[in-house]
């Protein structure tokens, strides 16, 4: 008897209801009611998710495979069927719990953060809608439905980035995010089509079973599977902000901070990782694709970190760190350690959400100030925020026993063991780790220590209300303990997380004694690297800091390698030119309007001529009637009058 599991649709439905209620009626309601609806729906779906997970585990005990249930047919065309099928397996369990849990916390936080913003109900309606689509995405049992969630979260991200739609920059950022994602989605769709063409189905089960029967492509061979995987990965790069499509994420910081936390750190951006992990069967059969994924991930991790070094906007720093962390996840997936990737996804969800929310709290305290050069010495004033932030920083920097230590560690370890120049990947990843800890601690110092660089009289710093700090503390606790599943692994025990996910990804590779010792060394190296970063940051930012005019490499980094400018010059500019000068002036005005106007004037001319017959003179009409009659008669009597044609008619 599994009431929730059998009716899995309830879990996504609740947020949708919340969205509908708030969106349609919320405008009239007081904040309390809106809160009640939003929190109630998400909280309830969180509880139900837990219940569903419990039931699933029970289910899994009895029969050892994922729980899939079709609820209704969505599209049925020929032999193509995309049903509203939801599924539940270990991977889903992790995702669902993360999404609903973190989502719920962030909802709570938002009630505090958004308290003084306009469009309160709108915000929560969007947020709930996002929850709905995200849940669809992770619960989907076929690519089509997953794509629905995929696009849906994209939409919500667009809506929420442009939440302050009166700010031009905000709307621009929204558009940018949307358009860039389109490019990725294009690849994703092509991938789906290819898959359907190959396997005549989009259901995960069908596709993956079929794939597992196929022989894997050789390294460097671009078979169907490889192409499909690469296309899917293209989608992932869009959604999860990987090179070359990462550019939208930093701009996405225009949105309210809780949004940045929920969508652009914890959940949505990890959709790509989830998708890759979900279709790991494909990727494992396409080593080339795997390799590409690993390289891209690694490169992104490093690249974003370098940019993160010099950013002055607190949220921008976190944004680039997000990008680089995502890079880590893909690195993990790329080198075949999907479990590690997902593991890092989870921990990252915790501490990055924490960091963003804390940053939000700081911004809240500074009443809107985001530039770290305008802060300083806040530690004493907003203790709770500070401590939570610190926890988050330590976690992301990867000091034991904090969460990221274990996850990032296992990723690097797997990278080290990767057969195709794994060492190089490892080294780059390590450098990225150094930089990560550097810019994070730089952030800490610039924000919380050193002398204050803001005007007391204008800004009066204050701690955030409970409904903001409590989620912070919870997340802080999680980002401390989140990684402890893997704790025993250090001491020769087994990695519970990996083991939990084993049914999905297959058993984690057993390191053996050598692996054990190697793992220890690697983790020590990682800690050392983090420490280096910490020290450098300490050296640079403890004594009197002042903002120097940036030049040279610093300038390049500060301007993000001019990538945006590059894209604008290479892609956007030409495109705009094309649209304006060809599609608008030639195609639209010339062709479309021309056709329409041509038809109009043509019919007018015809009418002018034909109108002459409408003289109103009845006798002329009579003659026309005669003509008609003659035609009819001719038709009737044709066979009679031309027996030669039709033979004698009798």
């Amino acid at each position: 008897m599994r009431p929730i599991l059998e009716n899995l649709w309830i879990i996504p439905l609740l947020p949708l209801l919340g969205c509908a209620l708030n969106g349609l009626l919320g405008a009239k309601w007081p904040k309390k009611t809106v809160d009640a609806v939003a929190l109630g729906s998400t909280g309830l779906s969180f509880v139900l998710a837990i219940e569903a997970v419990r039931e699933f585990l029970g289910y899994y005990q009895s029969n050892y495979h994922a729980f899939v249930k079709p609820f209704f047919d969505w599209i049925v065309a020929g032999n193509f069927r995309a049903g509203f099928d939801l599924q539940m397996d270990q991977l889903t369990v992790v995702m669902v719990l993360v999404v609903t849990g973190v989502g719920f916390l962030i909802h709570i936080y938002s009630t505090g953060y958004m308290a003084h913003e306009g469009g309160y109900y709108r915000f929560f309606s969007y947020l709930n809608l996002f929850m709905f689509f995200m849940l669809i995405l992770v619960l989907a049992a076929n690519f089509a439905l997953l794509f629905v969630g995929w696009e849906g979260v994209g939409l919500c991200s667009y809506l929420l980035i442009g939440f302050y739609f009166l700010r031009k920059s905000a709307t621009n950022a929204g558009n940018k995010a949307f358009i860039v994602n389109r490019i990725g989605d294009f690849g994703f769709m092509l991938g789906m089509f290819l898959l359907f063409r190959t396997f005549h189905s989009l259901d995960f089960a069908a596709v993956f079973d079929a794939t597992s029967k196929l022989p894997p492509d050789a390294m460097g061979q671009f078979g169907t599977l490889t192409i499909a995987s690469l296309l899917l990965f293209m989608g992932a790069t869009g959604k999860s902000a990987q090179i070359p499509l990462y550019v939208w994420l930093p701009d996405a910081m225009e949105g309210p901070t809780p949004v940045s936390a929920l969508i652009h750190a914890a959940t949505m951006v990890t959709a790509g990782v989830y998708m890759v992990a979900r279709s790991h069967v494909l990727f494992t059969h396409a080593p080339t694709a795997m390799y590409v994924v690993a390289i891209v991930g690694c490169a992104t991790a490093f690249f974003a970190a370098t940019i993160g070094l010099v950013q002055s906007d607190i949220k921008k720093v976190l944004a680039y760190s997000t990008v680089s962390q995502l890079g880590y996840m893909f690195l993990g997936c790329g080198v075949g350690a999907f479990g590690a990737g997902i593991f890092h996804l989870m921990t990252h969800a915790f501490f990055k959400a924490l960091l963003f929310l804390a940053a939000g709290s700081v911004i809240h305290a500074m009443s809107g100030e985001q530039d770290m050069w305008g802060m300083g010495g806040l530690a004493s004033k907003i203790k709770v925020t500070f401590w939570c932030m610190l926890f988050g920083t330590i976690a992301i920097a990867g000091f034991p026993p904090f969460a990221a230590f274990f996850s990032k560690d296992s990723i690097l370890f797997s990278a080290y063991n990767y057969e195709h120049n794994g060492k190089a990947l490892y080294t780059v990843g390590l450098l990225a780790a150094v930089m990560t800890s550097f810019y994070m601690f730089r952030l800490i110092w610039l924000t919380f220590f050193t002398e204050k660089r803001y005007d007391e009289h204008h800004v009066h710093v204050h701690e955030s209300p409970l409904n903001m700090t409590v989620p912070l503390m919870i997340l802080a606790f999680l980002s401390l303990t989140g990684g402890w599943f893997a704790l025993p692994a250090l001491f020769g025990g087994k990695d519970y997380f990996a083991e939990f996910l084993a049914p999905v990804f297959g058993a984690a590779e057993a390191g053996g004694e050598a692996g054990q010792s190697l793992e220890h060394t690697l983790s020590i190296v990682a800690v050392v690297a983090a420490a280096i970063g910490l020290l450098v940051a300490w050296r640079m930012y403890t004594k009197k800091v002042k903002r120097r005019p940036s030049q040279g490499l610093h300038k390049v980094l500060y301007n993000k390698y001019y990538v945006d400018e590059l894209y604008h010059a290479v892609v956007v500019g030409p495109l705009v030119w094309l649209s304006r000068n060809v599609f608008w002036k030639v195609v639209d005005v010339g062709l479309v309007d021309g056709t329409v106007n041509g038809i109009a004037s043509g019919s007018r001319a015809v009418g002018d001529t034909v109108r002459q017959t409408q003289s109103g003179n009845t006798r002329s009409y009579a003659v026309w009637v005669l003509v008609g009659a003659i035609v009819v008669l001719a038709i009737i009597f044709w066979p009679i009058l031309h027996p030669a044609l039709f033979g004698e008619v009798r």
Binding site: G616, N617, T618, R619, A622, V623, L626
Partner: protein, 100 residues
């Protein structure tokens, strides 16, 4: 005994004359008469056929035609009267506007 063709030819001639009248009369009432003439021609053909086939159906049709003609005349003449009142003319060539 008169062959059926004679009747048919006669009805054709009458019909043709009706058409000519329909086109060449200018007086609305006269045109209306032309229509009646054509109807009569058709009736003649009907009766002739019903005779030559030895069936009464044709005559029944004639009755129907006559009824229809009566109804038509009623309404048509009513319209003609109104038109004549409004346009001060019975010449169809002068009445060539839908509204004044």
């Amino acid at each position: 005994m008169v062959p059926t063709n004679y009747y048919l030819i006669l009805s054709a001639i009458l019909f043709g004359l009706g058409i000519v009248a329909f086109v060449f009369k200018r007086n609305v009432i006269a045109i209306f008469m032309a229509i009646e003439l054509m109807l009569n021609a058709v009736n003649l053909a009907f009766v002739a056929f019903s005779q030559s086939f030895g069936k009464v159906d044709g005559e029944v049709f004639v009755l129907f035609v006559i009824v229809v003609a009566a109804a038509e005349a009623t309404v048509g003449l009513g319209i003609i009267i109104l038109t004549a009142r409004n346009r001060r003319s019975l010449n169809v060539e002068r009445v060539d506007l839908l509204k004044l």
